[in-house]
Symmetry: C2
Subunit: 354 residues, 2 copies
């Protein structure tokens, strides 16, 4: 199935410290006490280093929403019926979902990609059709995907991102839609971070206490059955993953390779970041964590990746909603960096400690 996609061949450069020095020099010349814009200054510095440009420009903002179904839903791990994945794809294309509202607010475009929805959309205008499978298999009973399907799902994200980057988008956010997808995300997170399943498994879209217990049991059973190898991210993704999670990993790899910042949303997309990180840990420098999800396992993911979330608003919707909100902050930081007057140009006196 896959012939050209060699996961060992990504050359992702670490960030060049010289650009942090360039950014610091400019930030410290602006009419504000040194460091007084906190995280905004850190974001700006990282953008300068990622773009390797002392005066970078955000030319186009894009959110990908990758949709896929999950065989494990038959175990009763979600509050919503599986049909909602396809129903929400229609909602995305009509512009009525949370991500549509927030992407419009952030001035970002949205691309909806069918990576593995168990529904025949036919030739639906606006939908990017990249179906890897008609939903994954039930990971409680068998591997969610074949190894080839797992690689292909990463490739879908990679191709979508490369194409967007070639069109001029240079700030990309990732989002997900897939009823049941907190279950594979918890499984991936437990395997890769090494944390206990209980610690990384939450209520998803709103499970009861009893259903949460069943979900935890399902994940434990799956991990015991498949014994995924954390050092082999394709093994993890194929056995207990999902197509939309693989696609998120592919976007991260493409962005890091092309030196484009990529914003991760919550628990599901960050499971994709974990997969990408296991493929090449250098990706970490290119990823911004948009928010701290209410979904409990997100904490372990962020700790493992060493990422600090920009927002903490008790969000747990997914779809890239956090990514869209965080774009507003990322853009704010770059505007501060580029548009503020310097002490010299504004004729403002500097600190007496300077």
């Amino acid at each position: 199935m896959n012939t050209v996609f060699d996961l060992s061949k990504f050359t992702i450069k670490p960030l060049n410290e010289v650009f942090f020095d360039i950014a610091k020099k400019r930030l410290d010349s602006l009419t504000k006490p040194i460091g007084s814009l906190g995280i905004l200054e850190e974001i700006a510095s990282r953008l300068v280093a990622i773009y390797e440009n002392s005066m970078p420009e955000i030319k186009g903002k894009l959110i990908f929403v990758f949709a896929g179904d999950h065989g494990v839903v038959e175990e009763g791990v979600s509050a919503y019926p599986k049909e909602v994945t396809a129903q929400m794809v229609f909602n995305f294309l009509r512009g009525g979902a949370g991500i549509n509202v927030l992407a419009r607010h952030a001035g970002a475009d949205v691309r909806v990609v069918d990576v593995g929805v168990d529904y025949d959309f036919g030739n639906l205008p606006g939908l990017i059709s990249k179906k890897v499978c008609w939903g994954t298999k039930n990971l409680a009973k068998e591997p969610a995907m074949t190894r080839e399907e797992a690689i292909r799902s990463i490739e879908v994200g990679y191709e979508c991102a490369k194409s967007a980057i070639s069109e001029g988008y240079n700030l990309i956010g990732i989002g997900d839609m897939g009823i049941g997808n907190t279950t594979p995300s918890s499984a991936i997170t437990a395997v890769i971070t090494g944390r206990p399943v209980e610690e990384v498994t939450g209520r998803g879209t709103g499970l009861t206490e009893e259903d949460l217990k069943r979900k935890i049991a399902v994940i434990k059973k799956a991990l015991a059955l498949h014994n995924p190898d954390p050092k082999d991210p394709i093994d993890v993704l194929s056995k207990v993953g999902g197509t939309e999670i693989g696609a998120c990993a592919g976007v991260v790899l493409a962005c890091a390779e092309a030196r484009i910042p990529v914003i991760t949303d919550g628990f599901i997309t960050t499971a994709g970041v974990l997969i990408a990180y296991q493929i090449n840990p250098e990706i970490r420098h290119y990823v911004f964590a948009s928010h701290r999800s209410e979904e409990i396992g997100h904490r372990a993911q962020l700790r493992y990746l060493g990422l600090r979330p920009l927002l903490d608003l008790n969000l747990r919707l997914g779809e890239g909603t956090g990514s869209a909100l965080a774009m507003l902050l990322v853009e704010a930081s770059l505007k501060i960096y580029k548009e503020m007057a310097t002490f010299e140009s504004a004729g403002v006196s500097e600190s007496r400690y300077k």
Copy 2:
């Protein structure tokens, strides 16, 4: 000096629970798991209750930057010379300061008000001249203001806000500029919250450890000298306050009276919110805390007011920069509330628990 402004006469209505019910009903009908947009949903509900409108509209966004000087600067409590207050006013009017950049980003207008700068701006285009005094007196030696000046500073903010509201602005943020103004803010915070001076006094624009110790000693000396009465906010404001802090209090009172949400920035503006709260605690329902400032005393203020900050980005610039950023989130929450599709309209299945 003041004849018409009766602080006991503000009628500020508590929020009507009926509007929270109306908001919840709509939020729960939108195509997302119930409550999954967390704080954004809380903001939207509060906006509906504040405006008493089931489908409110943000018609105009405005940030006030109130500027004033502080006699206490002669005690060496700031890293910057006093002249910077006036220099920054020129910077605001030219659009080169942090607040200009972030207000443009948020689509908000900026109004710069001279409440008490020790500089003769003459008839400077763009500047709103409401000078109450030529800088406050040195609070370490004498009361910062007379009681009449303190009331007048509140009145300035109140008048500015009333005027803006009559022009159609209905989302207002507050900001401050005044070299040395963390010192009066710490003094106000210590008096009103009852916390020790050490716990509410920080490094401002970047003091050394030694200078911080002197600043704490100055504040303790001032409090011992004046013994301000926390139950009498005018007493507190006049003895250890600042004109721009009083003006912030006035905006809060005007907004709460007119049922307009008001966004506070960091430590200085929230000292103004404390003054307004002591005048009428009902103002609390109308105030959104934009962010958690790096300035340590901000925590005690937010606890005292029972406000949860929307952002936590280690900001400590002031000027209303946090207010501008938070406007983006407040507006996002209202767009979610108004623009998202409902389960019914989008044909999406609901939770099995419903």
